[in-house]
């Protein structure tokens, strides 16, 4: 959910763009972190862990803790809390460690 009216802040958002979450077309604003756009769409589970397959969301939002790793345009382990959203991006839930040579 997005804040539309705020007593102090006047949000200036980028251009509205479409991107893909696990193949499904969703909307966000250009330049905002991918995690913020997903959150606005109600998507909080970003990956499942290597050993115990536990769901993970973001934690720090400053690119520090590596909780939010996802596969973006085929590249695994992207910290989506600091990666800027662009039109047409393919964002996928990551399972496990991610393969460096991955053409999917």
């Amino acid at each position: 959910m997005r804040v539309e009216e705020h007593p102090i802040i006047n949000f200036t958002r980028g251009k509205k763009v479409n991107f893909f979450f696990n193949g499904r077309e969703v909307e966000g604003y250009e330049g905002e972190p991918i995690a913020a756009a997903l959150h606005a769409e109600g998507i909080k589970v970003l990956r499942h862990t290597h050993n115990k397959n536990r769901p993970r969301g973001f934690y720090c939002a400053i690119g520090n803790c590596s909780s939010c790793l996802m596969k973006v345009d085929g590249i695994p382990n992207v910290r989506v809390c600091v990666e800027a959203l662009r039109e047409g991006m393919h964002v996928q839930t990551q399972s496990g460690r991610g393969e460096l040579r991955d053409n999917n």
Partner: protein
């Protein structure tokens, strides 16, 4: 390879002030920041600052960030690179950074490390569920990007971050189910706590989070009371259904570069963990490296700004810039820091700094 007088790492309140001060004395400065936005954690601080006019008191953090950036931009001898993550410090005094997907190497005469801090986590069952976030992370999501973290939040920790973020969530239209504080007293300023209480949010002192529950995402948490020896009291559990739990239990300095550079570090719990040993001018034990702000010990942004000025002036002066200016800047900065750290609110900081020197 890029060469310059001074590299400042981090464009938060400390780093921006360091760059401005060093540049005003005539040094050439390169400011590197891993975020694409300037201002560090000021960019999400919608509340008005305390302190005195010298530290922008009564201004909001978001406006201070803009003002500092504009001030730094006015100096032709300041170059700023955003989206530039410093990767390493090498023995010959060279650093590498990743910028726009390429690696750059830089050699400066002096470095000012102002990398700030990261939020601590808290161990409890299911603390890894999506929906459990650092309070500062939720503040970024809500105040910078205008995205709500959920509908109902439980805040763990009643320090200033826990209190301020709770209030800002209310402002953004999110329900706050309560604030949980393990200590018998509220940690942050009472002026912030009073605002929260007036809004009808309960603050559970001498309570802790026992566990969170949920399958794919957090669905609630059990909190329980602590006795005067901080031991959980059975039978006191309260079940609080929420879709967000914010962890506001303090910050830890981001000191990786300092460790790597071989700076002597010391564990000072009052200042957030391992911090660099340094002299009064914020020079570390590696003489070409200065520190400023939270990386040198967790305090408020006001202190970070003053430390930035002091480190910037010290570094510039050591290179022969700003003839005579340093003594005055130093005197003023030390007086301001003493004032910011005075009184009961600064007791913990003073104790920590004493441990560092001793």
């Amino acid at each position: 390879m890029i060469t310059t007088d001074i590299v400042v790492i981090g464009a938060g309140p400390a780093g921006l002030n360091a760059a401005i001060t060093a540049a005003s004395m005539g040094a050439n400065v390169l400011l590197l920041e891993r975020n694409v936005l300037e201002g560090g954690q000021l960019i999400k601080q919608t509340h008005k600052f305390f302190g005195s006019k010298a530290q922008h008191a009564a201004a909001r953090g978001i406006d201070i960030a803009k003002a500092l950036y504009q001030s730094a931009s006015q100096y032709p001898n300041v170059t700023m690179k955003f989206g530039a993550t410093v990767l390493g410090y090498y023995e010959d005094g060279v650093i590498t950074a990743e910028h726009h997907e390429s690696i750059i190497t830089i050699k400066a005469k002096k470095y000012i490390v102002a990398t700030g801090a990261a939020e601590k986590s808290l161990p409890f069952p299911n603390n890894d569920l999506p929906g459990i976030y650092g309070a500062g992370a939720v503040q970024t999501l809500t105040n910078v990007y205008g995205v709500l973290p959920g509908k109902k939040v439980l805040m763990i920790g009643s320090g200033n971050i826990g209190l301020i973020v709770s209030y800002q969530l209310l402002q953004a239209g999110v329900q706050v189910a309560g604030i949980v504080e393990a200590a018998p007293e509220i940690g942050g300023y009472l002026v912030h706590a009073a605002k929260i209480r007036r809004a009808g949010v309960p603050i559970y002192t001498s309570y802790t989070i026992k566990e969170a529950y949920g399958t794919e995402m957090v669905e609630g948490a059990l909190i329980m009371q602590l006795d005067k020896n901080w031991q959980p009291l059975s039978g006191t559990e309260i079940d609080i259904p929420v879709d967000v739990v914010c962890i506001a239990v303090g910050l830890t300095p981001l000191t990786e570069l300092l460790w790597q550079a071989g700076c002597k570090m010391k564990y000072v719990p009052q200042l957030g963990g391992h911090i660099p040993v340094r002299d009064e001018n914020l020079t570390t034990t590696v003489s070409d490296i200065y520190v400023a702000g939270d990386v040198s010990g967790i305090e408020e942004a006001s202190a970070a700004m003053v430390e930035g000025k002091l480190a910037g002036a010290a570094a510039a002066s050591s290179l022969g810039y700003g003839s005579g200016k340093f003594a005055e800047i130093r005197r003023e900065a030390l007086a301001q820091l003493a004032e910011l750290r005075s009184g009961p609110a600064g007791a913990k900081i003073r104790k920590g700094l004493k441990l560092l020197v001793g």
